[in-house]
Subunit: 391 residues, 2 copies
């Protein structure tokens, strides 16, 4: 049951709205905040003072505007002081991300295969601790966000199924909390979900309320935004579009089912179709696309066929969600770019005309760092929901 | 950008929350409202007075409680005074629905086939006008909600594709507005969407935030609720799950594509598979289920096969949305009940274990009237968003 907010809640919402604005858009003048947030000047002044008092923003004069008259003060996020940790589990990458979305520090580790959660957590925690030593005194950590390729239980960050790692029920959330020894809340999310979050907040999907971000690696998943909100399902497992079955009783999938979409467009399926079943990993995929580009007939056939299946599944999703935008991330970006004609041709067959009318196909703007930036957004969400409580 | 609400907005939200509570739950004591809405007694008293002043609720003593002491006053929705009109286009049904969801009056018309929007609107408008004559003086109409089997453009209620009617780009919203001559806002929605809305508000899915309501007729569509909110897509076309392609290059579908899910589980596909291609309509389907039940081998095979396909598509949707509940409405209810074993068996093969853990399969609670009640909810939404503006 929805209930109206109290005075305190209004203040909290307004503080969150102002902080979110500078977090997403960067330094903003008081005049512009007044217009954008629909609040009067004295309210903006009071909110800014509160946020500045908590060390979350600072005020200053803008750069030369070229206009006459006294310029409106500019509100900036305290990016160097307020930060979140961010972890990409599958790639063993970690970063410290400042308020405003800037990566302040990062570690890219070597990627050994076959580690479980208990073995992975110390490596990542080590990287974080190393970064933590060079954090300036007085800086504020608002939390840690963690991105995982796989199905993540929202309640506690248990990885139910990780196609890249081969994990089944690995407690990466708990293992990281044990290892870190830094008292910050940890939020674990699916890599496609957090990348979608990042592209929606500050990437190619800014301003779009209905978005599908398709992310491919070994597995294929989607981060889905409907009506401006993330669709993550009852337990946090929503968006497992790679396990939409496209061939009844088709090829065996890692999940135990048959004919899943990712058996046709995922890493293993693509390499198998090209007669490269022994190869593995992103480099092998890029070599395959490269071979297709250079005219290797078998590689071309495999890529075109996978592109056709990519368009097929996207058509289904377009009919189900009626999105404004579909974004191709990870290996789906490579596949889309290598087989755009096949993707579009099949999409146009499968998609309903009304659903095709406004949909745009795009590649990510944030590139390789989308998941790191998005995982940090998971942590910043808590701050933005109640700035002075966290600050 | 989200901004905090003003004083006026808080009051509006609180009025809406109180009115929504009695609309959904019926007569409620002030004491219970205080607890449920988290507002203090004087606020509840003031809000109730405002709503009563606008004629939206009334207060009175409760029925005998058997307890000692002065009983808390009970707040009731003014169901006989405040109402919405509700129309189901494909079945040519119309109703007057009171605040609280009670059907106060209704008309079920004969259903001629082959009418366009311009021919349908006068029939429905006639039924509404007839009902309008017996509305008590001083009653308040908050709007009209319209349910259509098909893809409805949110902006203006244009029916882009109606599988039952055969409509393509028929302006039923505009045609009804022209014919009605009653000055009320008209909102047009898809029948599965509005039925899902009704089951979520006051039916089997009350309290569930992630729900798929599958509705079958000639076509098959879904009303989808994710995170407590309806998923309707960019233009209003979301939920066209019947056009999820399940057989690449399969049987020709009415939409122009091939192998759509509804070619396997929709009315035409089922009747064709049973060798009854000449038959049409719900009665023909019920006769088919009846024949299967009596042991007709061909009918049994067709029903089991369709049940298998039903479980297949539901498995895909369960992987994509991770819902708590799937509801089978319209002909999908009949198919589910006739082939539950096949549905569950295939669902268990296709669905990911984590997504299957909490999902419940259910039939509608509101039965045949779900769409009429849900269409009225479209109209009541405006009232609940700002009670005193409409009241």
């Amino acid at each position: 049951m929805r209930v109206g907010p109290s005075q305190d809640e209004i203040r909290r919402q307004n503080l969150g709205a102002l902080l979110r604005h500078v977090h997403v858009h960067g330094a903003t003048s008081r005049a512009e905040l007044t217009t954008t947030l629909g609040l009067n000047r004295s309210t903006i002044g009071a909110l800014t003072a509160d946020l500045a008092g908590a060390g979350l923003v600072s005020e200053g004069t803008p750069k030369e505007t070229g206009r006459a008259g006294r310029p409106s003060l500019v509100v900036r996020p305290e990016s160097a002081r307020v930060y979140a940790y961010s972890i990409e589990v599958d790639r063993l990458r970690a970063a410290r991300v400042g308020l405003g979305g800037e990566i302040l520090d990062r570690r890219d580790l070597e990627r050994p295969r076959g580690l479980d959660a208990g073995e992975t957590a110390p490596l990542l925690a080590g990287a974080l601790k190393e970064m933590h030593q060079s954090v300036p005194a007085g800086a504020l950590c608002v939390g840690a966000g963690v991105a995982v390729c796989g199905m993540v239980r929202r309640a506690d960050g248990l990885v139910r199924l990780g196609p890249t790692t081969g994990w089944v029920d690995e407690p990466i959330g708990a293992a990281l909390a044990d290892e870190l020894g830094i008292d910050v809340p940890i939020t674990v999310g699916n890599v496609a979900d957090v990348a979608a979050f990042a592209e929606h907040a500050r990437g190619v999907a800014a301003g779009c309320d209905n978005v599908i971000y398709l992310y491919g690696d070994v597995g294929v998943g989607a981060g889905i935004i409907a009506g401006g909100r993330r669709v993550t399902g009852h337990g946090g497992y929503g968006g497992e579009v790679g396990h939409m079955v496209v061939v009844r009783d088709g090829a065996r999938c890692e999940c135990g089912s048959r004919g899943c979409w990712e058996t046709e467009i995922g890493e293993y399926g693509l390499l198998r179709a090209a007669g490269r079943s022994d190869a593995r990993g992103r480099e092998a995929l890029l070599a395959l696309f490269d071979a297709a580009d250079r005219g290797d007939a078998r590689a071309q056939t495999a890529v075109r066929q996978a592109g056709d299946w990519l368009g097929f599944g996207v058509g289904n999703l377009v009919n189900i969600f009626n999105p404004e935008m579909v974004i191709f991330g990870g290996t789906m970006r490579d596949l889309y770019l290598a087989a755009a004609a096949q993707v579009r041709s099949r999409l146009n067959q499968v998609g309903l005309p009304a659903c095709l009318e406004h949909v745009r196909l795009r590649t990510p703007k944030l590139g390789e760092d989308a998941a790191l930036v998005g995982a940090a957004e998971l942590a910043f969400e808590r701050l933005l929901a109640d700035p002075l409580d966290v600050g």
